[in-house]
């Protein structure tokens, strides 16, 4: 990573840590273990399935909340508080600043997810007293959650370059929800007789990030293996989409007059 991107990323991570965001994770891990004990009591036979479902869904939602709420303020806060003035007077390009902020938040989210995964593992171990080979698919599902977070963070960062946190949150959430239902959007188009609607749904299907493909929670909960082809396809898809969003963010931000 470039010598100018790394310090920005480290500082972004440090900001998140000092905001005590990560301390919520310890609390989350404890709640997970507590919930596992409770679930173990009331769902005989399917404890593991319920815990994995509950745990992965919680990791995904908690990560999304962090990605959106920190992401939408990444650039906006620096402009509003004018901390960016001193920083951009150093030999750093605007796109390097953006990439640094992005990587910093991604590292924060990865650390967050790692902590929560430990909580989930502890809960599973408490219930079953052992790990099973099929539990490996949980790691695959978590990897997909990370890819999803990388995409959502890039979206939030993009909007953060030109709109307020409130609007950026709305835009990001709207695209996320639409992206979760991307496959349904395509199906609606297939059923319609209206050619204009067909074009619209198809266009949206291809334009919107398809978050549906990143959901492997049910697969992991049932102990099924995640196909290798899906792993690399999702990786490539997320990488390309993130790269496009960062390019667009850099294009917008590089021309922006700082008030």
């Amino acid at each position: 990573m470039s010598a100018t991107v790394t310090p920005v990323a480290i500082n972004t991570f440090r900001e998140a840590v000092r905001d005590r965001v990560l301390y919520n994770l310890v609390l989350f891990a404890l709640i997970m273990i507590g919930a596992a004990i409770l679930v173990g009591e009331i769902s005989i036979g399917i404890e593991r399935l319920v815990i994995i479902n509950l745990g992965l869904t919680a990791i995904s939602i908690f990560g999304l909340v962090m990605a959106i709420f920190i992401g939408v303020g990444l650039v906006y806060k620096e402009i509003e508080k004018r901390t960016l003035y001193s920083l951009l007077s150093k030999p750093i390009r605007r796109w390097e600043f953006l990439v640094g902020k992005y990587v910093g938040l991604l590292v924060t989210l990865a650390a967050n997810t790692a902590f929560m995964t430990l909580g989930l593992a502890a809960a599973l171990f408490y219930v079953g007293r052992r790990f099973e080979r099929s539990d490996l698919s949980i790691l695959g599902a978590i990897y997909f959650i990370l890819l999803e977070l990388a995409l959502v963070t890039a979206l939030a960062l993009f909007f953060s370059c030109f709109s307020s946190p409130m609007l950026s949150t709305l835009y990001t959430l709207a695209i996320y929800i639409a992206g979760v239902f991307a496959n349904e959007l395509r199906t609606i188009g297939d059923f319609t007789q209206n050619p204009a609607l067909l074009v619209l749904t198809r266009t949206l299907y291809y334009l919107l990030p398809n978050f549906h493909n990143f959901n492997a929670i049910a697969t992991a909960a049932h102990g099924d293996a995640i196909p290798f082809s899906l792993l690399w396809q999702n990786t490539l898809y997320a990488a390309l989409y993130v790269a496009l969003l960062l390019l667009a963010a850099a294009a917008v931000f590089s021309r922006r007059n700082l008030k």
């Binding site: 010598a3 001193s86 951009l88 007077s89 150093k90 030999p91 021309r255």
Partner: protein, 318 residues
Amino acid sequence: MSTPAIEIEGLTMDFPVGFWRKRMRRSLDNLTFQVDEGEVFGFLGPNGAGKTTTMKLLMGLIFPTSGTARVRGRSIQDVAMHREIGYLPEQPYFYDYLTARELLDYYARFSDYSAPERRERVGKFLARVGLAAAADVQLRKFSKGMLQRVGIAQAILHDPPVVILDEPMSGLDPVGRREVRDIIQALKEQGRTVFFSTHILSDAEMLCDRVAVLAGGKLQGVGAPGAVVGIQAPAMEILFEAREGLALPAGLAEHATRIGGRCRVEVPEQDLYGALEQLRGVQARILSVSPVHPTLEEYFFRLVGGPAASRGLEEISR
């Protein structure tokens, strides 16, 4: 001939105003001047004159509508230019979750110093701005004056040949102002170019080799402070002690104001010695004699003949 430290050519900046019906307003109008290598150059003007806009343009924080600028021959679009320049923004604000030491270390990372070099440098510059004792305190606990000092430290941390300071004395107490003046003086002695904005004439008079005066986004003049602003004292202030019941000489009595046992009188410069003789005659104890500087507002008022100067921005049609 050596390359000027800063060259500004025809810088013009328009920005949109209004929500529904966007109109363009001109905040800088065809600004052209240059700052020579090694000089302390003051940028004078009332609030809203365009000083901060000019500095932000130089730093690439905003982009000009037209015109160009170069720092030591490099275009302001060139990121390498930033290695040669240090910048203190107006009313600086920094990451308040960092300590002063961490903040400076962060900024030093952009200048290719090794970790030991950074440590040494950060300590040295914190001491230089009088913050050695507060080095490990989070910036959220810093006063405005302390933040200003951190701001100056980060601007000069990498030994830039050109230092741009936007209102460096703003918000400082007399001791702080004196310290900033000393830092500027020291930078000059090291051969660095200092370009700083102020709206306080005495600061410019004390420190600057040359000044540029800006009003309403237009350049009013460039040159030595006295020549440009016309700092000839039109009046002299005499402060003296007079015992109770003392009758002041005629001609002075009507202009004098008494504060407790002290009196203050303002006389035209040519009448100074006569007034002093008169006061000596009545055994008044002279405490001080000082020139009365016109304020920058008075200067601008005089320059453009009234409140027009304070109108500042000019609306333009597009």
